[in-house]
């Protein structure tokens, strides 16, 4: 009797001890991989970044580190109960290694637009008010004012301090709402974690920099998570009953579709989380509160929020359904009152693209496919990778259906509804990128259903195939996400060039750049007259025609010819690598321009004001002709 009761206890203790040892070993492997990966990135050579982007500068150790993290995470799916510590530490390590790789490897924060957004926040801090007629983004100032306040409260003087690690922090913030969405839609603990991993390794669109769309995407995910967790009705409402009646009048072949979507299989969706009426009221207030922050920070995200909630309501998965009407009316109110300066001048921009699906696709895909052979290859990788993700998601939907005749309507809505954005306009050619990003949470969960359609322990065969597919897809992902680093990464010399410009140019001066370059407009945003780039009117018949585009200004006109802009031209427009030198020579040959600063990152030329300035002596590399000293900011520290 004693033996019979003792033996199982001893076996259980052994199993528990073994499990604990394996758990610690897995955690140790992940942490070791993280440390090795970070050290490998920090010690890499930034100059090795080439036409294929960051992947050319990444060391082998980095790939090994990422491989270890992926392998441990996928193997941990075979645990019977959720290994929370392993999954959490593993996913955080994956985010740091994948989405923080550029921040760790490069000497300065990347991407000119991120610096520009810091400039918007800085402008609010300096002026104390918005300038809605200066730029449309000032009509949605929520993110910029929030960033400005956070900067001052944290004791910094410039928002550029956030730029370097903003992508890592933002992507880490995606994890909780993504997990909550996964738990609300799919059963078991594995599917949500797989969804999060797929999201982290599929988010190639590069929208996670210091920007309003990133923060509002986090808020959007949270609203969707709350709606699906606490407001996902399992009883059909009036709208869905009416639609069901409409479905019953469909042709016989399609009738099953209507019944399936509107009424059928609700019992197989995970149960709604238990709530009290008071809690539901509080959560409704929270949704409205968050949506107010979204609508005052970004143009596109509130539309997507309303669309998702409306689709869930129409399909009978959201109760109370008028939430989307409330948020929609509030969004229109903001556009009407808060963004008057924008819509009064840009009605064509707002409504002009509506319904033009062909032109949206063309501006999002066709118009972007141009440039050097390497750049075209990068673009093809991107399109291929996006189609690969969507294709796997489609297969996941089919496998989910075949595995138990189940269809998760909320999952299909989260994955498919964002495609509607294509009909809403091209959004400056970025529409398709946004469509992919917004559809990725749902697509990632569908891919998790492809890997594991039922909530059970995956076989070793499935685990090995998943790891192999992830290993093969990862280099393609790296090319897709960091493929523009050749002209989007910023060096210390680039920053030095810009700081020199801001020290020399008086307020009111006109600033012209060769192309999109470096740390763009990160300070004194509204004090200068930014006359665009010379590439805006590309192509030109000759360099002289290009030079003729530079407008004179009595306050001074400055032309910045930087290496990032030259590389941008080479990769995107197929220009000569010598174009910068040619433009500079043409400007100096007119005798109207003076070379006022030069370093390894480029040159600054000033348009002479009458009376003409004496001919300058040509300075050597890195020599400031203007008598001033320049302090270089690393971007990590306080910038004064």
């Amino acid at each position: 009797m004693t033996e019979a009761t003792t033996l199982p206890t001893a076996t259980a203790t052994n199993v528990s001890d073994n499990q604990r040892r394996v758990s610690w070993a897995c955690l140790g492997a992940i942490v070791l991989a993280l440390v090795v990966g970070v050290l490998a990135l920090v010690n890499s050579n930034e100059d090795a970044i080439g036409p294929y982007g960051l992947i050319e500068a990444l060391p082998v150790l980095y790939f090994i580190a990422v491989g270890v993290v992926i392998a441990v995470l996928v193997c941990a799916l075979r645990w019977k109960s959720q290994p929370t510590a392993i999954m959490t530490v593993g996913v955080i390590s994956l985010v740091v290694l994948v989405h923080g790789s550029a921040g760790l490897l490069e000497s300065q924060a990347r991407f000119g637009t991120a610096w520009l957004h810091a400039g918007f926040a800085q402008s609010l801090m300096q002026l104390g008010h918005t300038s809605p007629y200066f730029d449309a983004r000032f009509s949605w100032p929520g993110f910029f004012s929030g960033a400005g306040v956070l900067t001052e409260l944290s004791g910094f003087s410039s928002p550029t301090v956030w730029l370097r690690f903003a992508p890592v922090v933002f992507v880490l913030c995606y994890i909780p709402p993504l997990l909550a969405i996964g738990r609300a839609i799919l059963p078991g603990w594995r599917a949500p974690w797989i969804g999060v991993m797929v999201f982290m390794l599929g988010d190639w669109v590069g929208q996670d920099y210091f920007s309003p769309q990133t923060v509002t995407f986090i808020l959007y995910l949270t609203i969707v998570a709350i709606a699906l967790t606490y407001f996902r009705s399992r009883e059909p409402g009036r709208i869905s009953e009416w639609l069901q009646g409409l479905g019953s009048r469909m042709p016989r072949g399609l009738r099953w579709l209507g019944s399936m979507i509107y009424a059928g299989r609700r019992d197989q969706e995970p149960a709604q989380a238990p709530t009290t009426p008071r809690m539901r009221l509080g959560l409704l207030v929270v949704i409205v509160f968050i949506s107010f922050a979204i609508m005052s920070s970004h143009q596109l995200t509130p539309i997507m929020t309303v669309a998702i909630l409306a689709a869930l309501a129409v399909l009978g998965r959201l109760r109370p359904w008028p939430i989307f009407v409330l948020i929609g009316v509030a969004t229109l109110s903001w556009i009407n009152f808060g963004a008057t300066a924008y819509w009064s001048n840009h009605l064509q921009d707002i409504f002009g693209g509506f319904g033009k699906i062909g032109s949206s696709v063309d501006s999002g895909v066709g118009a972007r496919i141009e440039g050097s052979a390497a750049h075209l290859e990068v673009l093809n990788y991107r399109i291929g990778f996006a189609l690969f993700v969507w294709g796997l998601a489609g297969l996941g939907a089919i496998r989910l259906w075949w595995s138990g005749k189940r269809v998760s309507v909320p999952l299909l809505v989260v994955a498919g509804m964002p495609v509607m954005l294509i009909a809403g306009g091209s959004y400056g050619g970025e529409g398709l990128l946004r469509v992919f990003l917004f559809s990725l949470p749902g697509s990632a969960l569908l891919i998790s259903a492809l890997i594991l359609p039922l909530p059970r322990v995956p076989r070793w065969r499935v685990v090995i195939v998943t790891i192999l597919v992830a290993f093969m897809a990862f280099p393609v992902f790296l090319v897709a996400i960091w493929g523009n680093e050749d002209f989007e990464h910023i060096t210390t010399a680039d920053l030095q060039l810009r700081q020199a410009l801001y020290q020399m140019a008086p307020p009111g001066a006109t600033i012209v750049t060769l192309g999109p370059d470096g740390p763009d407009r990160y300070q004194s945003l509204t004090l200068y007259n930014y006359a665009g780039t010379l590439f805006d009117h590309w192509p030109y018949p000759n360099v002289q025609a290009m030079v003729a585009q530079i407008p004179p200004n009595s306050q001074g006109t400055y032309v910045v010819i930087s290496q990032p802009a030259v590389r941008y031209g080479v990769e995107n427009l197929g220009t000569s690598p010598d174009l910068g030198a040619q433009v500079s020579a043409a400007l100096l040959a007119t005798k109207k321009f003076t070379l006022v600063y030069q370093n390894s990152a480029g040159e600054i030329l000033r348009l002479n004001q009458p009376p003409p300035a004496p001919t300058p002596t040509t300075p050597g590399p890195g020599v400031a002709v203007a008598p001033s000293s320049f302090r270089i900011s690393s971007g990590w520290e306080r910038v004064r």
């Binding site: 004012s145 929030g146 004791g155 709350i226």
Partner: protein, 141 residues
Amino acid sequence: MKPWSRPQCAAALVAWSIVSIVLVWVDAPSWLRLPIVGVFSLTGFGLVVVLALRIRSVPLGFAVTIAVGVSCLILCSEVVLYTRGFSSMRTLLLQSVLVWIVAVWVARREISAWNREHHVMGRVMRRQRNSAADSAGGASS
């Protein structure tokens, strides 16, 4: 260690907000302000809302903390921006007031119990005082 009760957590958040205001007031260095004031500004209101709503799910609790905290920062900064002009200190004060309101709501039962107790204590003490005065008056007369 015994986990904190909801009113204790609410009180801690109120204390955090006061410490944040003081740190900004005295212009503390950024290495101190970033982890205390910056994090409070991003998550303080979200935490007190999660406390008030009793959200049990850990991922959703994190998500709501971040989303509501960031929304509070954005909306408060905008209210200040459009009414009095950009000011980080006013924004922090507005955020803190919101945190205090929800914290009081979270701890309302404890506050009322404390109030009741002190009210009863006060009544008893008053009665003792009065009876002492009466007896003293009676003795003198």
